[in-house]
Symmetry: C2
Subunit: 419 residues, 2 copies
């Protein structure tokens, strides 16, 4: 136990020191690191793939399913994609130092708000080695030191990648502890790190609900949480049916295993009789299991009866709950009760309905006539994201470089005193 406390102590102290240096390096220095990291990745493809093989061999022992094994797998082509992503982060504007607000006060004092790094980020994530590179690049580009804790199933891959990132730090003259990897799968280390609210400025957990709940409970520092995506598509009375079907298909089927996939379809009762059979046909073609209300089942005979539990479930699979609602108000009430406040969509041609939906639905992203799948840092124009926050505090929805920053007030005077 005490060993892990010491280990957490060392990692966080090193991160703290690195973060102070990082806060004042130039954007150019950070870009050199990103480019050198990409070069080193491409020069060490073989070693990385070897390390990854060790993880893949152990994967069945961890009980990983095919999708998880796929996410764990690194190939030369995928490493090229990862290296390219480093170049893309490099091309993004540096958020640090941006003056995003300024006023001259009547007494002549120039008051500005200047973007600064948060400091030290503790990032906990699933067994996807590409995320190691993504997270490190976003944290460092935003001037933060980061402590990475990837899923245990990816440890060998992560160590191999991390060694290169660290080599690039040393070669480009950045603090070598700007990026650190927790090089053990011991769970107690996480508990020790979560106690260090004095040295870690924010913890960002990604992964299963139980992990996020554990982190939120134990953390002695702010947490950016990423809970479920129980996302809704509501088809209003005035909706274009073809548009609604296309958006539903894209929202549910394009990538059912991700958080911004739709899990529930709500339909205005005035169009239910006409629209439901089209939905039934579409979902049958796409192999989607339907769990619906009584009226849904009358139009889609294959549908099972949805329970209350169904409306509370993030399926992450080719399953959709369907409910006919009396009107827009009933749709908003259903969303208020069952949504995880991640992403909700209305399909409508009625301006008043669109306005009410966007004003009253309290979710990270609320969209009119577009797929739920757009709630994503890249799609929203952030360039890249470290996660999608379901919190309302500090950052909501996709978190890119800016969401990894804070600000300070910088004021310039000429001897002003307060009267």
């Amino acid at each position: 136990m005490s060993n892990w406390a010491d280990y957490a102590d060392r990692l966080t102290l090193q991160a703290r020191k690195a973060s102070r240096q990082l806060a004042i390096v130039t954007g150019e220095q950070k870009q050199r690191w990103l480019h050198r990291s990409a070069e080193l990745l491409m020069q060490h493809v073989e070693q990385i793939v070897e390390a990854n093989k060790r993880d893949l061999q152990a994967a069945p022992g961890y009980g990983l399913n095919a999708a998880a094994v796929d996410r764990l797998t690194l190939t030369p082509a995928r490493l090229q994609t990862i290296a390219n992503a480093l170049g893309e982060v490099s091309a993004l504007p540096d958020p640090v130092g941006e003056i995003f607000e300024s006023t001259v006060r009547p007494n002549g004092l120039l008051v500005t708000r200047v973007r600064v790094p948060l400091g030290v980020v503790f990032f906990i994530y699933e067994s996807r080695p590409n995320v190691t590179i993504d997270a490190a690049s976003l944290c460092l580009k935003s001037g933060n030191a980061v402590i990475l804790r990837g899923g245990k199933e990816a440890l060998h891959s992560n160590v191999a990648l991390y060694q290169l990132l660290r080599q690039a730090l040393v070669e480009t003259g950045l603090p070598e502890h700007a990026v650190q990897l927790v090089e053990t799968t011991e769970r107690e280390v996480v508990g020790e790190l979560l106690k260090r609210g004095d040295r870690i400025d924010v913890t960002i957990p990604r992964g299963g609900k139980s992990l996020i709940e554990r982190v939120a409970n134990e953390a002695r520092m702010p947490v950016i949480k990423h809970f479920d995506g129980i996302c809704h598509v509501y088809v209003d009375e005035s909706a274009d049916h073809q548009m609604a079907l296309a958006i539903l298909k894209n929202s549910k089927c394009q990538r059912p295993g991700v958080c911004n996939a739709a899990e529930c379809l709500l339909i205005h009762q005035a169009i239910a009789e006409q629209f439901l059979p089209k939905v039934g046909l579409l979902l049958q073609q796409e192999g989607v299991e339907v769990r619906g209300c009584e009226q849904t089942r009358r139009s889609i005979p294959a549908a099972k009866l949805a329970t209350r539990q169904d409306y509370q479930t993030e399926y992450l699979d080719l399953i959709l709950s369907v409910k006919v609602v009396e009107d827009l108000s009933a749709a908003i009430e259903h969303i208020d009760e069952f949504s995880s406040h991640h992403t909700e969509v209305i399909i409508t041609n009625d301006l008043k309905a669109a306005n009410r939906f966007t004003a009253e639905v309290d979710s990270a992203a609320v969209m009119v006539n577009a797929s739920t799948r757009f709630n994503d840092g890249g799609e929203f124009g952030l360039g890249a994201e470290i996660g999608i926050s379901t919190d309302k505090f500090h950052a909501r929805g996709p978190c890119g470089l800016r969401e990894l920053t804070s600000y300070k007030w910088v004021a310039h005077g000429a001897g002003q005193i307060r009267s």
Copy 2:
């Protein structure tokens, strides 16, 4: 115990419901409430002063000192000031609904960020009845429901004020539970409320360090903390001495009991011999006790020797610690070690020194050639503030209306799907 849990349950459920309604009321409705509250205050001056007298009579029993009794006291003139403040909040722009960012993506999707209320604010504050009105007005203007928990010494005053705020809510058609007061001094209620992370979006504690630490430890929701102000004035080699003395006097003496008063003076060694006697004279005239380093004591014979403890202390009194430092780097290092990261000031005529100071000092407010006393919502142009955050997360420095908001992503499409 269970009674207090039930009470907390009821308050938070009512606040939650009120916050959903509040999020969509117009700015005009909120203004009507602010104006009606001001009217009711002025119509009930006598009753309020009566209630305040009961608190003042009990004050000696609570061991309040003269300054605390002064802060507790309400007079007709002070009530007029409080009513005027409601008018000033009414005149501020409504932050809710502001689109503060928008982009059109290549596929035509219009992506915007829209400011929305945080939801439910739990505000814990010292025994200053004027804060009851300030906090309620800022929370409501920013669309938040608020649960107020004032200091026990002000309970009668707070109840009297709260009843008028509530009357104004009912009269202007706003949810009556938009503002609620914890009408008991029982400490257990606070503990119960701090557990309700599912219903309270943020807790803002103001007051002594032990209170804030207790809240930070127990809260199951985000907290905006307002810790000490151990603020520094650093006089650089190139400083204008007259300016430095004027800023020092204002920073230390104008209102020594507040968080943005200076507690420590740092002086570049190159000017120490010349500058220190002037400092000694000024501080003697102002009745400020000096606790300094060895060199300070050679120039200011009345100075006591400063201990490490002195440099860690927020005196909130006419006491100043003074230290001669080798150079700008040493000043920054001292601040890094001892500051509470609230407000630091450099007095200099050297552009490079000013730039290094503002870049490297990591405090909520960093100022060049101006008094520490300017770190204040009103002085920085926010109009009013609910506190000054020493956190880096979500809000830093003065917290006005905007800092009481979050945002949501609202996207408008015409049938876009993700490819």
